[in-house]
């Protein structure tokens, strides 16, 4: 069953009609419905194209959070071969909001670290909806250190509403864990590429997204605080989330304009959730290209490039 977002209603209605006609045709009590199905399908596709060519920032937020949008583990399954997941921060525990391990990408060794939101109730709980605790970031640091020592590039797949705000997380130093993880990214002497798959939520995202190359899916969003959070703080009214989404400039196009991301990965028509394999293939292609740009650089240059790149962000804006 496909789930539709509120603004996809015209498409939902047309596609429901197509389904109805198909069912009628199958039960054999219809005259010729083939033409009608074709006509409706074309109409639905046109409506979808129309809607998706001009999504508002708030609508993009909804697409980025779509329950059927492919998540980190689907990308790993689709892009990485021989994946060996590793667990634990060796300090306190294992946090499944961040998954990570080593495998092969295009046949070459790679370290993958990413937020996993889960895709059904049970897995969502298991992965804490992709909201990591300090252990998650400390595991990320541990994997980055391994990757650096073995001279293996790092791929970060970012999809989180943010780091988890809870008593235990604070008690065990959530802020410090995030800061150390960002620092670990900046200290890497191997190339790293980050992809914002869905939501890039604040410190919880930047902790692994401080990369030589930062890519972002067309309908992903990346921001310092969720639109709801901003609305509650700045307008004292969570219903102003739409305004907050618009004013905060959170879309891939905005971030590209500010020089914060290096590349936008196009999504299939109607969003990644309509055709996950196509979305994953396009992402893999963009990642391949990003890593190839960093190939052959010395370890010191790789690190310096990343530092200089971040220091330069915003310096030429006016």
């Amino acid at each position: 069953m496909r789930s539709y977002l509120d603004f996809e209603k015209p498409v939902a209605e047309l596609e429901a009609k197509v389904e109805e006609l198909r069912a009628m045709a199958q039960s054999g009590n219809a005259v010729s419905v083939g033409d009608e199905i074709g006509r409706l399908e074309a109409k639905a596709a046109a409506a979808l194209k129309d809607i998706y060519s001009d999504l508002t920032p708030w609508q993009k937020t909804q697409v980025a959070r779509h329950p059927q949008r492919p998540h980190c583990l689907e990308y790993i399954a689709g892009m990485i071969t021989d994946f060996v997941p590793l667990a634990g921060d060796r300090k306190y525990g294992e946090d499944e909001a961040i998954v990570g391990g080593f495998g092969r990408f295009n046949g070459e060794s790679i370290c993958v670290i990413g937020h996993e939101k889960g895709s059904a109730t049970e897995s969502r709980l298991k992965h804490n909806f992709g909201m990591a605790r300090p252990e998650g970031y400390r595991k990320a640091v541990r994997l980055m250190e391994l990757a650096d020592r073995f001279d293996i590039p790092v791929l970060a797949l970012v999809d989180t509403a943010g780091a988890y705000p809870g008593i235990g997380a604070e008690e065990r130093g959530q802020a410090e864990a995030i800061a150390r993880s960002t620092e670990a990214c900046l200290g890497l002497c191997v190339p790293n590429v980050a992809v914002i798959l869905g939501e890039g939520g604040s410190g919880g995202a930047i902790a692994i997204a401080t990369a030589n190359r930062v890519l972002m899916l067309e309908h992903a969003v990346y921001s310092v605080i969720s639109p709801e959070g901003a609305a509650s703080i700045l307008w004292r009214d969570t219903s102003r989330a739409q305004d907050a989404a618009t004013n905060m400039k959170i879309t891939a196009t905005d971030l590209d304009r500010f020089g914060i991301i290096d590349r936008i990965v196009p999504e299939p028509l109607g969003g990644a959730h309509r055709d996950p394999p196509a979305a994953i293939a396009a992402t893999a292609e963009a990642i391949t290209e990003a890593f190839s740009e960093l190939r052959g650089l010395s370890r010191e240059i790789v690190r310096r490039q990343r530092q200089d790149k971040f220091l330069a962000i915003g310096r030429d804006l006016d």
Partner: protein, 297 residues
Amino acid sequence: MNWLTNVVRPKIRSFLNRRDTPENLWIKCPETGQLVFYKDVEANQFVIPSSNYHMRMSATVRLKSMFDGETWLDLAVREVATDPLKFRDEQRYIDRLRDARAKTNLNDAVKLGLGKLDGMPVVIAVQDFDFMGGSLGMAAAEAVITGLETAVDRGTPFIIFAASGGARMQEGILSLMQLPRTTVAVQKMRESCKPYIVVLTNPTTGGVTASYAMLGDVHIAEPGALIGFAGPRVIEQTIREKLPEGFQRAEYLKDHGMVDMVVHRRKLRATLSDLCRILTKAPPPRARANLPARVKA
């Protein structure tokens, strides 16, 4: 800074500034509710004598309380774009900035000084909570970076007094980018092998703790300071439970291994001076510069 901000603003400010008016003769202790004579609090480094409640200190007063002779060199900070998002909530961001500048007489939330602490050259940065909640945006981060880079260039320790509600939301994603940006500068500081000391003051939360404020070589907290990543309100709303007593306070962070010590403001200067000297293998100061008996606002 131009002549307008330097010359005209302070005059307007002194006209607007009501701190010294009789209205402020007495202040209320936020902890006990007791009324205290403002002059007594001022004379006690803005610590309420009866309750030991540490009040916020303005950036200028803080610098005065640290540097020998209450003098230092202001460091020039690279100019940044003012309002790249053209942000507007209930008010325009540029108006908020203008108001904050008039209110604090600061250019942004971080003020820098290069001076001497018991004779030893140090760079000190102070985050002023009165400037839009000490929030971290491009200008504040640029000041932190300049402070760290100056310390690296001159081979001095770097001390930062952190106070912040977090990232400056009016700068959107650009404020988030200040986490890695300041962290780059912290890494350069580490490579210089000179001490980087963070003093966490009330309150330090959000993006500031998730970057330079938790990456110091030594973390000192002022008594009772609220320190954490997520604000208590957000946590309460998420877990729908009442938070334990003392949660996210300086003493709690010490118990949980996140800060080295909780130091009363009275002893702060001597502690910082000792740390800087011991970590740089410098001999003890010949004579402790006399502590300013009273730091005037």
